[in-house]
Amino acid sequence: MIALLALPLTLLSLQQQAGASIAQRLAGRVSPELASLVVELGTAASARGLPIDPLIEKAIEGSAKGVPAERVATAVRLVAMQLDTAAAALREGGAVPDTLEIAAGGFAITAGLSGSDITALARTGAKAPALTVGLRVAGTLAALGVPPAEDIGLVSVTLRSGEPSADLLLLPAHVQSEVAKGVTPAQAAAGLARAAAAQARHGPPPGRGQGHPHPPAPPHP
């Protein structure tokens, strides 16, 4: 009973801290009503061990885009749900995720991957920061149109081979350049996975470290 009485007070002070810092970051960027909703959601999320940056960023984004507050609120709630899904999926895969990993998992879900996909990545046994980067890259590959099976296959084999994060981060660019040659994203990812499994390596693209040229946009028709 004493422990039960002590715990809520501790939660209260941590929650108060979380609430104040959230409010500060939203001030002047979202309407007061939306801000108080995000403080509520963020405080509750923080108490569950979830990152709050994704919630704050989504609220600011929606307000900047002129979206009606109700819709922004729904989007923020969806982000919270995706973070919960990611956290559960990571734990299911044996990870003890930190907030960066959960945020990365949440992004992967936004990009279209499922809880099972995230669990599969966690099961590779990779730890932070490699797992965090792996999740971000998996989401990015999904955003490029790589189907989940090929996506998780490529990232898993790369994580298992103990590649440094720099090589993981190159995967989306490799897929893009293969796609530019005419193959589908699925084929590109599968090809890369085979190459990684055979321990072939691509050299780093020119300019890495001095600057990272973003692929230029193709001319508009």
Binding site: L7, L11, A44
Partner: protein, 180 residues
């Protein structure tokens, strides 16, 4: 009166129809005991912020057909007890990456960049038009990590980067993704 029942007048006192002063002297003691009982009523307000989120996600879930096990209500409550054991992430790396953003928009009068790295503010990161061919560029130095962004054309049109991976922004549009 002895027994387990309150005197009818004391019940009227409890109902608020009469006051303690209205009771005959022999009932004052019972009346005071009755009021002490009422004073023990817990009237503290209860706030349940999680209910809104839980309701809306339940409604959303039925639309999107997520796996049910991922939304067990017990998760929210069990996780609250884990707060003191939550691992903190390692200090963020200081790595910075220089990135060049390009948009071909010959008809635009003004193009800017808005994203997670500048609070989605369409005013603070303008692109520069190079020559007459309608190629707009900006070069930024960004921290390693995950970023989302879009171009803002003429202050009103939000356009994702055609050359970049894209995700649903939750508002009916797409954001571009930059993973550094």
């Amino acid at each position: 009166m002895s027994g387990h029942e309150f005197h009818p007048l004391v019940k009227q006192l409890l109902d608020g129809d009469i006051t303690l002063a209205d009771l005959p002297p022999e009932l004052r003691g019972e009346g005071e005991a009755a009021l002490r009982l009422l004073a023990a009523v817990d009237r503290t307000d209860i706030s349940m912020p999680a209910v809104t989120w839980r309701v809306m996600t339940t409604l959303e879930r039925r639309r999107r057909r997520f796996l049910p096990w991922l939304l067990a209500p017990a998760l929210a409550i069990a996780a609250a007890l884990v707060i003191l054991l939550r691992p903190t992430p390692p200090a963020p790396t200081a790595a910075l990456v220089t990135v060049r953003f390009v948009l071909v928009a010959p008809d635009a009068k003004q193009v800017s960049l808005a994203g997670t790295f500048n609070q989605w503010d369409a005013q603070v990161t303008p692109l520069v038009r190079t020559g007459a061919t309608g190629v707009w560029t900006a070069t930024l130095t960004l921290p390693a990590g995950q970023h989302q962004y879009a171009f803002v054309v003429d202050g009103v049109r939000w356009v994702p980067d055609p050359g970049a991976p894209a995700v649903d922004d939750g508002f009916g549009r797409r954001n571009s993704v930059l993973t550094l």
